[in-house]
């Protein structure tokens, strides 16, 4: 099962059908999300046969553009609409990832989505995890989708 391929397909589908924004996949091999600056992260926990987290890390300027396109209105800063939109992106991605993992015999439950936002932070797991990271590009900049699954 190529989970990265599934994440790419799901992200492109979500952005084309609901956000109404063109995105492309970056071929860069990303090993770690590293230090995130002026960014917002939407995340959803996975529990059950396997545990993990699905996160989408988006620079503020890109999150504002995404939210504006998602809602069809001008957004002038990081506000509740942006936080909610990013959380909902994580929610939809989490749902798609769950469907793939369940197809492959895993029993998974999803948490409710949550977001964190700040000037500088790092998103790390304290456990031994297998990471899949994919960078996507938009007209406003790039964002990362990260899946961490406990080994």
């Amino acid at each position: 099962m190529d989970i990265s391929k599934k994440i790419i397909e799901a992200t492109i589908e979500i952005f084309s059908t609901m956000v109404m924004m063109d995105i492309t996949v970056d071929d860069e091999d990303v090993k770690d999300s590293g230090k995130l600056h002026d960014a917002i992260t939407g995340m959803i926990g996975l529990a059950g046969t396997h545990k993990g987290v699905l996160a989408i890390h988006i620079p503020h300027v890109v999150a504002i553009a995404i939210t504006g396109s998602f809602l069809g209105m001008e957004v002038d800063g990081i506000n509740e609409d942006v936080e909610d939109a990013v959380g909902e992106l994580a929610n939809m991605l989490g749902g798609n990832v769950k469907a793939v993992l369940v197809e492959n015999g895993r029993d998974i439950d999803l948490s409710l989505p949550s977001t964190i936002s700040g000037a500088s932070y790092q998103f790390q797991s304290s456990k031994d995890v297998e990471k899949s990271l994919i960078r996507f590009r938009t007209e406003s900049g790039s964002f990362l989708v990260e899946l961490q699954l406990e080994k």
């Binding site: 589908e13 609901m18 998602f70 929610n91 409710l112």
Partner: protein, 123 residues
């Protein structure tokens, strides 16, 4: 007289998207009520005339399955159709929703065409 719809989702973004999709699908409602969870949805159904409910499954306070269960116990609202709109696609959870009276489901993400295809025949 036109129809009224109740949108139930803890994401205000998603409620706006569903509203937009209804308009793009050419489905008109006189009133679009909104609720953030099953408890709010029940409160609205107690006082407003609603012809159809579009509900998420995973929500805080009262999720979509619990909402269906409680709604089915109330004579004044048990016959109002509920269409699930959710990231959940598993046969077990969708099957449980249908056993509690849900008339169908739409998976997120969705297009206006999909909304029209599933919702249109129910109106």
């Amino acid at each position: 007289m036109g129809k009224n719809v109740l949108l139930v989702d803890d994401s205000s973004t998603m409620r706006k998207i569903i509203g937009r999709s209804l308009r793009q699908a050419g489905i008109e409602f006189d009133n679009i009520f909104e609720a953030g969870d099953g408890l709010e949805a029940l409160a609205i159904l107690e006082k407003e005339k609603v012809d159809i409910v579009l509900s998420d499954i995973n929500m805080p306070n009262m999720d979509g399955i619990s909402f269906l269960r409680e709604k089915s116990n109330r004579a004044n609202m048990k016959d109002i159709p509920v269409l699930m709109i959710s990231t959940e696609t598993g046969d077990d959870i969708i099957g449980e929703a249908k056993s509690l009276g849900a008339v169908g489901s739409i998976k997120k993400p969705f297009t206006p065409d999909k909304v029209n295809e599933v919702l249109g025949p129910l109106l």
